[in-house]
């Protein structure tokens, strides 16, 4: 495996066209691939969500049958979690970590190429079953058991395509693990002289900790799907009660992965926001060290809260109390972060360029999501809320107006560095305001229908929920269409149409990435930069 410095010879004969992308070991190219892939999955997953919202526009069954509806919720969740959010953050890591720590490339460039190129095939496999289903092949043709694929729905009762699903989850897992290893090796071994750990930008810190989480839990997910596979085909009974196994065990294994996984999807976002707010408040980040410790404690705590997803499954009282208090404890370091962001803005000379708008929206809306999470953590209350739209509202606030908004913030912030031109202001403003309003129209009423008892994952609902659902669907279509504006912004930048960006593209921006020209040249830091 070649290391970063060992491929100096690429300088003179960089391949072009398809080959450039297929064989690239350059962190910027691979970052770009990841980001486009993530966006494509975001649109594909979004399309599935539009099917869901079309069916739920009115009570009664109009548009799809319930079986197909279940496939939509399942594949929507999988595509968004594993296809849009995770690869999106990996793309940002690829682009920005070497630039931020003064490294010439990622430490294991060839592995980097592999970890990206596995992904499109993983999703080809998964999405192929949706195409088969849409065109009437097999019934049901696509996985239909929810993104959490609980046994026995996914074992005894899983459709044939479950095996495709298992294969594709394995591939996604291998890709993430390789990506995570690359981040850790790069951060440990390739920092420029003088870039001590406690001088690293928070985006690098949060990604380092995320990478450790990934290596700890993606193999557990791989273990879970492997057990499913052997239960399905090789006569084992890990999750099969008839053979002495236990379906509840599945939930423990899944959520042991699943809860750290939700932090994998939010920690890098914390890093992005911690980069953007100081820039536009023109003040250094408040409480840098406490941010690092808060991130580390969130990561550690995330291993001891998984059963808050399973309160209704039944647990001894002591266990229930333990998981309830641990879950509530996580809001302490999370609160520290929100406090620090607000304190950074306090008396800063704030301006509200696009990245800052997204960042502030993130802080407010993510906090809303954290608050509903806190409500769900209260066990007796969760008995009422569990598996209702209240949970759906919770995790969409933290994931869409949280993780996804942070990626929009990151894109608007770093697009000048990536492309050399400033993102189109008019389209950007439209995209922001349109998304901000529609995302709340889409997800806020879900709290109400959830509290009133509307269960999630059903293709129909009781008449009393009709008005809310109508507006939720309108919000959904509106939010979906708004994302085409972002597509336009990205395409314009890729075509270099726009105001030329200076090296330091934002007035108050600090950090090594702003010392290199915009767009960042194909090779940076052949000689390590000076870290002050």
């Amino acid at each position: 495996m070649s290391t970063a410095a060992a491929h100096d010879d690429h300088h003179h004969h960089a391949p072009t066209g398809l080959k450039r992308w297929l064989f690239s070991t350059n962190h910027k190219d691979i970052g770009t691939l990841y980001l486009w892939f993530s966006f494509a999955m975001f649109l594909a997953g979004g399309l599935l969500a539009m099917v869901i919202r079309t069916e739920l526009l009115e009570p009664g069954m109009q548009f799809v049958d319930p079986e197909f509806f279940n496939q939509m919720t399942t594949v929507h969740g999988l595509a968004m979690v594993f296809g849009a959010v995770m690869p999106g953050f990996v793309g940002l890591a690829n682009w920005m970590i070497p630039l931020m720590i003064g490294a010439p490339d990622m430490a294991l460039p060839r592995m980097n190429n592999w970890s990206f190129w596995i992904l499109p095939f993983a999703f080809l496999i998964l999405l192929s079953s949706v195409f088969m289903s849409a065109f009437g092949a097999g019934n049901p043709a696509a996985p239909n058991f929810g993104w959490t694929f609980y046994a026995p729905l996914s074992t005894e009762y899983g459709p044939a395509s479950t095996d495709l699903f298992i294969l594709s989850v394995h591939m996604m897992g291998i890709s993430s693990i390789m990506g995570a290893i690359n981040v850790i090796v790069t951060v440990f071994n390739l920092r420029a002289p003088g870039m001590t750990l406690m001088k690293m930008p928070l985006f690098v810190w949060t990604w380092l900790i995320t990478a450790f989480l990934l290596i700890a839990v993606m193999p557990v997910l791989a273990g879970a799907v492997t057990m499913m596979l052997t239960d399905r085909h090789f006569g084992t009974s890990f999750f099969n009660a008839a053979g002495g196994g236990d379906p509840v065990l599945f939930q423990h294994v899944f959520w042991f992965f699943g809860h750290p996984e939700v932090y994998i999807m939010i920690l890098p976002a914390f890093g992005i926001i911690s980069a953007i707010i100081p820039t536009f408040a023109r003040k250094p980040l408040f409480g840098y060290a406490s941010m690092v410790y808060a991130t580390a404690s969130i990561a550690l705590l995330s291993f001891v809260v998984w059963a808050h997803h399973m309160f209704t499954v039944g647990m001894p009282l002591a266990g229930t109390l333990f998981f309830m208090y641990m879950t509530m404890l996580i809001s302490v370091p999370t609160g520290v972060k929100v406090f620090n962001w607000v304190a950074t803005m306090w008396r800063g000379s704030m301006t509200f360029e696009l990245p800052m708008k997204w960042a502030i929206a993130f802080v407010i809306l993510f906090t809303c999501g954290g608050l509903s999470g806190l409500m769900l953590a209260i066990t007796p209350v969760d008995f009422q809320y569990h598996d209702t739209y209240f949970v759906v509202a919770h995790f969409h606030y933290v994931l869409v107006s949280g993780a996804v908004f942070s990626m929009f913030a990151a894109a608007y912030y770093w697009l000048p560095k990536w492309s050399g031109v400033m993102p189109n202001k008019l389209l950007g403003e439209l995209h922001f305001w349109s998304s901000l309003i529609s995302v709340n129209l889409l997800f806020f009423p879900m709290h109400f229908v959830g509290l009133a008892g509307m269960p999630r994952r059903y293709a129909d609902y009781a008449l009393q929920f009709a008005d809310y659902n109508f507006w939720i669907s309108i919000g959904g279509f509106w939010f979906g269409l708004s994302q085409l504006l972002f597509l336009a912004v990205c395409v314009l930048c890729a075509m270099k149409k726009g105001e030329k960006a200076p090296a330091r593209s934002w007035e108050g921006a600090e950090g090594l990435e702003w010392e290199v020209p915009s767009p960042a040249p194909f090779h940076t830091y052949d000689t390590p930069p000076v870290v002050k």
Binding site: M1, I215, G223, A241, H252, G314
Partner: protein, 184 residues
Amino acid sequence: MSEHNLQQRNQRTLRKLLIWAVAMFGFAFAMVPFYDVICDITGLNGKTSTTASTEGPSQVVEDRTVTVEFITQRGEGVNGDFTSATRRVEVHPGEITLVNFFASNPKSSDIITQSIPSVSPGEAARYLHKTQCFCFDQQSLAAGERKEMPMIFYLDPELPRHINTLTLSYTIFDVTDRVAATNN
């Protein structure tokens, strides 16, 4: 640092992380026996002992009455009846009680069944002792057979005071194919 050194360092870090990933894969499987142990200790998920209890009760607590309810369910592949002679009994802790269960096989071929018990609240599982149960072994049902299957139990006199009702649920599964597969 020379380039060669850096390469070696990268490889070393890579190896350590890979070992960790493989270990975590193993950990997922280690969770299986670990889960069983936790279930044994805490009664998590209402699992009762899978073997007959050999000791009798130390005493009968006459001044305390506990309701025991029975639920029967048919799992995958079973289409015969599965019921208990009674749906609820009132017992004193320490009192030995017999309850009959019935299963039938309307199919034209013999089947082998396995019943899986579960107690709610899970906390009570350890205090339910069975001296005989059809669930300890697989039960074969000939074509058209209706079988009486006894279960004898007593509640531990130590049963915590706040538990006044407990529910014992059985799910019956057709494991004919499973048994055939392991015999081959």
